[in-house]
Each structure stands twice: as C-alpha cells, then as structure tokens.
Subunit: 585 residues, 2 copies
C-alpha cells in the first residue's frame, strides 16, 4: 500500500506544506464540488459527499503524493448524459444510478489495474484528447447558460441542439441572474489577475450569498441552492438501492445499460488523472507514478466512495496543480482537504442556503474555458495536418453525436491512420555522398551519386503484413527504372521489425532478383530482425556473405576482416542462438 | 482497356500456346464449373453459365494475360452460406439472389478499383489467409460427403455441426455412391501421378458417366445430375428479377441483406485473384498486374456475368496455374476456354445426364485438399509464434462461427496485434565496440562498453501516440539506472516516423533531462523526421549543435567539419524548406 510508504517516511518539515495545501484545496473543493455535482445533474450536496471518502482512500492507495481526487467537470458531464438517458426523469433513480455508476467504474478500473491494462491509455493520442476536451468544454460551458442566465435548456450532449435552444429562448433571459453570473465571472478573473493564489471561486460564493441576502435577489427570480441537509454521507450499498431494484429489468438490467458509460468513464478518468499525476511527479522525483497501481487506487477510491453516496471521481487538473504549488508533500494534504469538507458538511451547510446557482455556473464557465485548446490547433496546423484532421474529426463527432462517440471515433481514426500509414511507408534511394562512405537520399541531395549498376534502398520502418507488398513493389519498380542493375543493397538498419508475411515477401524479393541475375545484399540489420532471418533459414538461402555490418561494406561487397572473422559475429546471444552473420549491434 | 494491348501486340507464334492452354482450361472448367455450382447450392448448369461471359469480359479488361476467371470453391461456399441464410428454402429466390449477388460484388469491386482502394487487400496477412483457407477447405470438404457418400447433411458453415451430423448419420452411407466417389478420387490422384498434364477430372467424369450408364447405377441409389437444359444463358437484368421484387421488403431489402456478404466476397475474391495473377506475372514480365485495374476488371466481369445468369466469379488458383503451364500467352486463351464452354452448352449437355454427383464431389475434395496449409503451420511454429496464434485463431473462428466471421476476426486480430506491438517497441542500449566508432547492443555484446556518463539508446521504430509514453519511460528508467549520466544520445536513425504526440513527448523528454542537467543529443535522423523536428521548432530549442550526422560524432559531441559547415546541411530540399541540421541522408 503506497500510502504506508509516505507515512513511514514522513518528515516533520512536510507538515507545514501539507497543512497549507490541504486547506487551500479544501477551500477550492467546496464550490467546485457543488458546481460539478450540478453538471452531473445532482443536488450540490453530492459534490461534497464525493469530496470525502474517495480522497482518503486515494491517499492510502495512490502512488502520487500530489494528486487531488474528487469530482471533475468532464466526468460529471459524462455521468449526466449517460445516466440522464436511462433514468427517465426520476431524480431518485438518477441519483441511485450515478452512485451505482461510481461502483461500476471502480470495479472496472481496479480490474484493469490488476490485469495490467494501463497501457491502453496510450491509444488516446494527443490530438484526440485535445479535440474531445475542447468539444466537451463547449458542451459543458453552453449548458451552464441554464443557470447563468436562467434560460431553460434541454439536457443534451449535442452542441447544435443546445445552441438552437439557446437562441430560440434568448428572450427568456433573466436579467438579474445573468448580471449576477457575469459579475461572478468578472470577480473570479479579476481575483486571479491580482493574485493567482486567491481562492477566487470561494470569494465569489461568499459575495454571491451576501448579494442574495442583502438585496433579497431570491424574490427577483434568482435561483438559489436552498436547504442542504447537514451531516456526513450515510453509508449504503449502491447495488441494493431500492429505486433500482424496482425498475423493469431489475438491477442487472441497470448494470447492463450502464456498462458502456462505465467503461468510457473508467478510461477517460484514468487518462486525465494519470496525465496530471505524471506531470506533477516529474517535478519531484522522490516517488514514482505507476499506471497499473494508479488504476487500482482510483478504482478503490470509486468503490469506497460509492458506499458513501459519491458519484464517479478522479484526479482533477486544477486542484492537483494548486495542491502542488501550495506545497503539498504527501497524501496528508488530501486527508486534510477531506477533513475540511467533512467539517463543512457537519457545521456549515446552512451558510450555503442563499448561494445563487448562477455563481456556481460562473465557476464552471471559468474552469472549462481553460480546457479549450486553440494552441494545439495552431501547433498542428503548422506541424501535422493529419493530426489536425484527427483533432477536428474528434471535435465534430463529440459536439454532434456526443462525448462517448467522440472518443470512440477519435481512437478508431487514430488506429485506422496508423494502419494506413504503416501500409505505405517512406523509403529512400541512396547515393554516395562525398566519397567517405557516406550515403544519402538522392532526392534530397542531388549531388549524391548512385554507384554503377547498384540500387541502394533504405526502407524506413517495419516489414510486415500491411506493407509487405508495398516493399516488394518499391524494389521491383526501382530496379525496373535502372536497367542494368546487378546489385540491390537494402540499408536495413531502419527495418525495426519483421513478421512472417514480411519474411515471405523478403524471400519473394530475393527469388525475383535471383531470377533476373541480380544480387541482394543486406546491411546493418538490428538484432531482433537478424534473429528472425536467421531462424527462418533465410540467411542460409541468401548466403551469409551477402549480409554486411555497414552500408559501405555492402556496397563494396567486401567484409572488413574485423567483421567477417573473429568473435564479432553472432545473432542472439541472449536467446541462446548464434549464427555467423555480421551484426550491427 | 488492357485487352486491346495484347490484341495490338499479338504475335502469330503465341497462337499455338493460347489454343492449347485455352482448350485445356476449358476441359477443366466443365467438371469444375459444375462442381463449384454445386458447392454454391445451385444446379450444375449455372457453373457453366458462369464460365462464359465473365471470361470474355476479363480478357478485355484484365491486366493479367494468364488469369483464368470463373467459379472457384471458396467464393461458391460464401455464396451458399450467405444466400442460404436469406433465401428461406425457395430455389427460385436462391438463384435470383446468387445472380444479384454477382452484380453487387461487381459494383463493389469496380467502385473500389475506381477509388483506388486496392491497398486494402494488404490487411489480409499471410497467417490470416492461411488459417481462413484451411478452415474453409475443411468445411467445403466435409460438406461434400453429402454427395460423396449420400449422407444427408445440413447446409452449414460450422464444422462441428457438420461433423456431428456426419457421425450421427454414418449408418446412412450409400455404399455404391461412396465406392464411386472414392474410386473417382483414386482415379484423379493416379492420373496426376502418371502425368500431371492429364485432364484427370474430365476423365473421371467420362468414366463416371460410363459406369452409371453401363451398370445402371442410377437404379442402385446413385444420384445423377439428370436433365440439363441446353443453350446459352438467357440475358436478363438481375435487379428486376420478379422473385426478388415479390419478397417482403422488396428488392432494396434484399440488397441491404446481401450487402455484408457482397463486401466479403468482393474482398476475398479480389485477394485470391490478385495473389495468383501476381504469382504468375512474376515469371513473365512482359506485362504488369495493377491492383486497382484488376479490381475494375473483376468488377466488370461480375457485372456483365450477372446479366447472363452467372453467380460470383473470380480468378482461380488451379486453372490459372494450368493455363500458364499449358503455354497461354494472352487473353485469347481465356476466350477459347469460354468458346469451348459455349459449345458444350449448345451441343453437349445431354451427355452429362448420367454424371454422378459423387464424381463432382470427388473433384471438389481433391481440389480443396490442396488448400490445407500445414506447411505454413510448421513454418510459423519455428519462425513466428505470434503469427501462429493468429493463424489458429482465424482457423478456429472460421470453423466454428463461419467463413465471414473468420476473416473479420483475423483482420481485427492482425490490427490489434499491430497496435499492441507498436505500443511496446524494441530498443537497445549501445556501447562502444572495438574502439573504431562501432556501437552495439550491450545486452547482446557484453564486451561493448558504455561511454562514461553517457547513455546511448537506439529506439527501434516510430515515435507516435501509441508508444510516446513508452519511449519517455524507457529513457527515464535507463537514466535512473545509470546515476551520474550527463549525456543522453538517441541513435535516431531507426525512428521511421514521428507524429504530433511523439513531438510533444520528445519535447517532454528534453525538458525533463534539462531539469536534471543532462544533455540530449540526436544522431542519424532520417529526412521526414528531420523535417518534422525542424518545422515544430524543436531544433531551435534543443540547439542545432546537439544534432549529429553519425553516432560517433554524437557520442564525442563534436561535428566533423564536413557536416557542420558546408553545403552538407539541409532538411527538405524537395519541400522548399531548409535548415542547418546535420542530416543522415
């Protein structure tokens, strides 16, 4: 249990930082927790419930000492749209489903961690994450106009539906509510300007409550949060919730329907959390963040949380950054944050009676604005147009078909692009450059000269099923374009791997060349490829004197004494095999 | 139109070969066509119809001069199982659907050719094709025991169902039929032993007809083909077939239901045909086989065929091989084959009245036995266990869930494996070997010595979203394992590509190293990667003096005068960009 490690290693000088950071994050969590519960479609108090038990459990199991776990905007949006489609408008069912979802997410994450599936997160590429986050930020942002301006809006994941409703009902804006909301935004932004360490959102909450109280804004149509029950969350087992057992299809029907959204949340929340934990860990280095252990810790936090009325939680970006900057040194900071929330739940909930929902909406808008990633768009425009298309496609699917579809489309497109690119790799025809045994791409260096009757081809990438025929064709075409070719040299250092289809096609190439009386020579093969060629018997067919250590030797057709004779020649010392082939490394 | 080319270039000395080959293939086609129609679940005559128009059209449009188009076993099996599930037992509907399917396959293939999607065929890797073909051969083979031994068998793609039915009804074997079938197999195999050029199947057909005639085997329970209508196929438009328009859902409903099987057949038949066309073309070289033009030609053959009662056809393996061996030189051979079939249809059909179905089953069994690919299993066992797993999985899904599911599973597994392998690539830590600027993997060459305070890492493969964090982690771990490291040298020649996620992570690596006071040097970058690093501004951050042409220079930290100064330095002369970076090629 990683939590025991920081407890055992605890040093007294850490206490100051942990205390200050824990209190700062706790103060952030009060308004954020309530606001994100609102995004999730739940009463604000559940955001506070979600900010107690999960924090304590993560502090014990998590490998990061800085990660601030709790409700986050993106996951709350996923909860809202995922559960909203199934709950059929019944608030009790909605709540029970959100809590059951936390348990399911926890079980999935823990299983993935135990099965060591943390690597899956790699398949969410940078442009996919960026397009998806920007799309989700817009949906969350615009959906808050319901609270910010009092416009009735449908609960939807589709941006065009949201914008349509917004424009068609623009005359329903409640002036006082909007003024309060815009005022709160200005207040938070101004506070951030003055000193980034100011707890702007909390101050906006205090100011909002004061405004409602002194100007009786509640009578002027401003929606307030109203009565909040006080006390800690009641323990209970989400799986035995009565409101779910009474549904047609029973509890197992609900589990089945929630499964896809639970899987999506498991992956996305892990991805967000792991990325921020890693980013912060890099600055410290006195601990390591482990992907699979993180999955187990987040899973434990979600499972335990679900027994205390928490909806799905994960490590959040902004609070983690604040936690680290405020000087947190260990999981004690998170325990202090949770304690502050618990005290709030026990004694301070009556103070939030007059809190206007517009202020929570303002807090959300400021937070999600930071998620809109135009910098990445500009970067990709200049550096990688293919990835820009990927970003744009993910964004468009996200805002039109929804958040889950966006992620799925992005991952599917990434993999399709990987496969397509693998099927038509880059290669270069090389020529001698400067006469010192240096060879260069003749298309980039017109002064590089191809040796007489010799084709030197450098295939850039692996040789496998998706491109085996491409390589065959490339060699065939380049030989055909050079009548009189007697030797083909493959500068094979860049062949990073070869599979059985690749082995078959390399053999085909050799047979074809042999029929035309052309010799094939290989140079610079890396170890794993050398092993495969050795075991398949290809070296025996080709002749070991056609395999060279350097391109220079291959073009000359002569082995240096050093390479040909002595102990320099072996294929796979590790796996116990050994062959008489000039190796590269 | 490639057909015009061989007509224009036609030489008189080709005529002899074309005539002999055309007649040989035509003689093969008579029994094969009838047998494969039987596999498809159609009356034998339709196999002859499918052996006329498609051959003529392919001769005009095809880029191969040797490909023998017509009915093939595998595609017939796909037709049988695909249409059988939809036709509901009505033979007229079954027939109309099989012909409509030919039209749909043709339209799909032609569209794919026009859209230049021929590269898609690359994704059927060698082990997938092998596992799939072996599975299909077993299903076709065992299903023929219905005709070979007179055992009633269900029409199914599932091997265990087939074998179950076979064993449970083994007492229903009709001795005379089985004797005739086994005799025909022995006859064909013996003929092949004596002289491979003997038309064994045709001789077996003649002998079978004679046996039925002289011994009145028909009265002893041997099933014969019976009355075959004579005359050429009647023209008609498959889309307007009355029996399909009268179905619930109408013709569009049928088209929708046939679409998945049409797509499967389009791809598999193209794959089979293209593979054999390419294999034969390699021996000749006086023409080129073009994937996209082949798709168009096969599409045209199927569309035109469907207007003359043909079911889906493609280039077959065995007849193409015979065509080439018999001396075919041009498409004229195929035209002669088609003419022979047409003459048979006009005048010889009454001769087949007494042909026993067991003889056709024997011909099929001999043909599919050759498709069982145990050699590949042995090859993979020794050379590529991962690909063996792929083969086995494809085989198992094919024989349990069916032919289409098998192909799909194989392709999905290939891609998943590609993605998984890409996410954890190979790398090597290098050390100086022998002091002559040669560096080798220290794990393979324990005598290679890592330079003091320097980590030399060679990442084998591209640097992209699926492995960006793997590379970061690999560098981090290897630095951590070598306290006192001051310099990290990436031997980057093996990085075949980099995407935007890779660029971000390379930058992260650099920032991390810099924070620890460790220098990062790159050597041997290939052109396309150099371009990306240049345009992203990474070289400006890293410092151009940290980019080297050779590993030797990078380890020494010194540029050779040749590389640093003169005209040797540029990034992408083709794309008009230029930077002061030492290039590799």
């Amino acid at each position: 249990m990683p939590g025991l490690r920081w407890m055992r290693d605890y040093r007294r000088e850490w206490l100051r930082g942990d205390l200050f950071a824990g209190l700062t994050v706790g103060v952030m969590l009060i308004p954020q927790g309530m606001a994100y519960a609102m995004i999730a479609g739940l009463p604000p108090i559940f955001g506070l419930y979600s900010s107690t038990v999960p924090l304590l459990v993560y502090a014990l199991f998590g490998t990061s000492r800085h990660l601030a776990v709790g409700p986050v905007a993106l996951i709350s949006l996923l909860v809202n749209t995922g559960v909203g489609a199934l709950a059929g408008g019944d608030p009790a069912v909605f709540l029970a489903m959100a809590i059951l979802l936390a348990m399911m997410v926890g079980v999935l994450q823990m299983s993935m961690g135990l099965l060591r599936l943390g690597f899956l997160v790699n398949f969410l590429s940078h442009p996919v994450i960026s397009g998806f986050t920007t799309g989700a930020a817009l949906i969350i942002g615009f959906s808050q106009f319901k609270h910010l301006a009092g416009i009735p809006l449908p609960s939807t994941q589709q941006l065009h539906v949201l914008l349509g409703a917004l424009f068609s009902q623009v005359q329903q804006i409640q002036g006082v509510t909007l003024a309060l909301g815009v005022g709160a935004i200005a207040f938070i932004l101004a506070g951030r300007r003055i000193d980034p360490r100011l707890p702007g959102p909390l101050l906006a909450v205090v100011a909002g409550i004061a405004a409602v109280h002194f100007f009786s804004l509640n009578d002027r149509g401003v929606n307030i949060i109203g009565q909040i029950p006080s006390g800690l969350p009641r323990p209970g087992i989400p799986f035995f919730s009565e409101s779910l057992h009474n549904l047609p299809g029973g509890i197992w029907g609900v589990v089945q329907h929630l499964a896809p959204i639970a899987l999506t949340i498991s992956l996305i929340s892990f991805m967000e959390s792991y990325a921020v934990a890693r980013a912060v860990q890099r600055k410290h280095r006195n601990y390591e963040v482990d992907a699979n252990k993180e999955l187990i810790a987040l899973g434990a936090a979600n499972i335990a949380g679900s027994f205390f009325q928490a909806h799905p939680t994960t490590g959040g970006f902004s609070r983690t950054a604040v936690n680290e900057q405020a000087g947190a040194q260990s999981g004690l900071a998170a325990i202090i944050s949770a304690a502050l929330i618990a005290l709030t739940l026990l004694f301070l909930t009556p103070l939030f009676y007059n809190l206007p929902q517009a202020v929570l909406a303002a807090i959300i808008l400021v937070a999600v604005y930071g998620l809109i990633d135009l910098k990445e768009v500009r970067y990709l425009y200049h550096n990688d147009r293919r990835d820009l298309v990927l970003l744009a496609a993910t964004f468009l699917v996200t805002v039109t078909l929804g958040v889950e579809a966006g992620i799925l489309a992005g991952v599917a497109l990434s993999i399709a692009d990987l496969v397509y690119r693998s099927s038509r790799p880059h290669y270069a025809v090389l020529g001698a450059y400067g006469g010192k045994g240096i060879y260069r791409n003749v298309q980039r260096f017109p002064e590089a000269i191809e040796p007489p009757n010799t084709l030197i081809l450098r295939p850039d990438g692996q040789w496998f099923f998706a491109n085996a025929s491409f390589w065959q064709q490339a060699i065939r075409e380049n030989v055909a374009a050079r009548p009189g070719t007697r030797v083909v040299v493959l500068d094979a250092a860049t062949i990073s791997a070869i599979d059985s289809t690749g082995l078959h096609s390399l053999q085909d190439v050799w047979e074809e060349l042999q029929r035309d009386g052309i010799a094939l020579r290989l140079s610079g093969l890396i170890g794993p490829v050398r092993d495969k060629l050795e075991h398949s018997g290809f070296f025996d067919k080709l002749g070991r004197d056609h395999v060279f250590m350097t391109l220079q030797e291959a073009v000359a057709g002569r082995h240096l004494s050093e390479a040909a004779g002595s102990g320099a020649v072996r294929t796979a010392s590790r796996s116990g095999h050994s062959g008489l082939v000039s190796p590269r490394s």
